[in-house]
Symmetry: C2
Subunit: 279 residues, 2 copies
């Protein structure tokens, strides 16, 4: 692992690392915020952030204002890029497919299958790397925005026991039923409705074996709300399954990082309650 950036931030340090990923077969970049306790060598829980379409590892670390609260709760924040990138990696001219749009799954279809293995990367390779190189405990939380909210919810549901806490901002909750998700699932996983449901939060909730409480914030002025996000489908699925969900519709808020920053304190507190129960 090679450090490419480091900046003092709220008594801790925001770093960016680059490494050759065995999952994606590419160099991957990842933002790592080390809170004050981690700089002193204390083992800290790790909270993973998954970004949305078109983002890199930079969006969250520069715009979300999370370091302030990670410092307060002494959580390590890890924010990877949203897909493999580079020459030799398949791509598409659209913003919602290919590089910048990995959808946090392992692709099975050409031309995506060789490199687009973001589920393996986020769930297996990255935590192993973080727990080896930083003063990180094995207590993990996961959250994200939009496509990354989809990633956080589906990965937590697909890997019971891996994460102690989960939350999302404006997540794509039912990719099988909305245009962004249908396009990506068809391209990456093929024309197989059963394969799609393995990566669909609303479908996964029905079979969830672990009752991890979900915190979801959604702006009601979000330009993608009615077509791509549809939180009412998540509410209905959780109601039916008896899955604990706190869905907060936030009046006037849109899909931007201005929205994310506004409720970051609440999300960090939600994760800290699960990741640092001793406090």
């Amino acid at each position: 692992m090679q450090r490419t950036e480091h900046h003092a931030s709220f008594g801790g340090r925001q770093e960016v690392w680059q490494h050759a990923s065995t999952s994606t077969g590419t160099d991957m970049k990842v933002g790592v915020y080390l809170p004050p306790a981690a700089l002193k060598g204390e083992q800290c829980p790790v909270l993973y952030w998954l970004s949305g379409l078109t983002c890199t590892e930079q969006n969250f670390i520069t715009k979300a204002g999370a370091q302030q609260f990670a410092a307060e709760h002494n959580l390590i924040l890890v924010a990877p890029d949203t897909s493999p990138r580079g020459e030799g990696v398949a791509n598409d001219d659209a913003y919602d497919l290919g590089q910048g749009a990995g959808f946090y799954l392992n692709a099975t279809q050409a031309p995506w299958a060789p490199h687009f293995r973001m589920e393996d990367y986020v769930v297996q390779e990255l935590p192993a790397l973080i727990e080896q190189h930083f003063p990180a405990s094995a207590a993990r939380g996961i959250f994200g925005h939009s496509m990354g909210g989809h990633g956080a919810l589906t990965l937590a549901l697909r890997h019971p026991g891996k994460y102690k806490s989960v939350s999302a901002f404006s997540p794509i909750v039912a990719p099988s039923q909305v245009p962004w998700g249908q396009k990506a699932l068809k391209a990456y996983r093929g024309d197989d409705p059963a394969a799609w449901k393995q990566h669909d939060t609303v479908a996964l909730i029905a079979g969830a074996t672990e009752r991890l409480p979900l915190l979801v914030d959604q702006g009601d002025a979000d330009e993608f709300l009615a077509e791509h996000l549809r939180p009412e489908l998540l509410q209905a699925a959780c109601d039916k399954a008896g899955h604990p969900l706190t869905l907060r519709m936030q009046p006037g808020y849109d899909h931007s990082y201005y929205f994310i920053a506004s409720f970051m304190a609440d999300h960090l507190a939600h994760h800290a309650r699960a990741l640092r129960p001793e406090r």
Copy 2:
């Protein structure tokens, strides 16, 4: 004035406006954060932010994390672009001269004089516009970063009574004595040492008629510290003149917005004490 962006943020609203400026003769963009009280129509004090070299109105509004504290203190935040821009406006290939590098003064030299009139714009035109179009009181504060820290300090010193509070992050305090400043002052104001001193904080402190207390934060790992910033010259000038200065050297911090965000709460509290003395 035309609104080009608006986003709910911390119970208030982050907006971007564009308008034809009579000072610069160009269209200017400006970020305006309206805190919750302003959205209810209450008159609020206005805190002006001046950005550094290469910045537009976007850097501060997306990266500084100031909205959270502006909402808490109910201050309007106004963050203009750093220079005139566009076709027909003089420019230079260097990052530290021309568009993106207005230095918050009125240029007297060719080819800059026609449009580079940022002092008039920031001190006269913009406050008049803000106080006309928004629920803004006449209580004004000013702060900024690097070239914008220079702008905040010099404009407050040059216009006694205009601002009730001032602060800066990593300001260029002695442009007459450092390469960034010498290059800009020579280009914009000509080869006249007397003209330079009118835009040099260290030189202005000696003749200050108003004892506005200065709050300055400076990272000691700032890559521009020794060559361009030299806060020790400000400390010496303030000591000599008996001008109140709180200069805080922040260990490990660099020149980035990660540094700015880390101490934003303190700066907003500093301005709120002067701008809302009733609280």
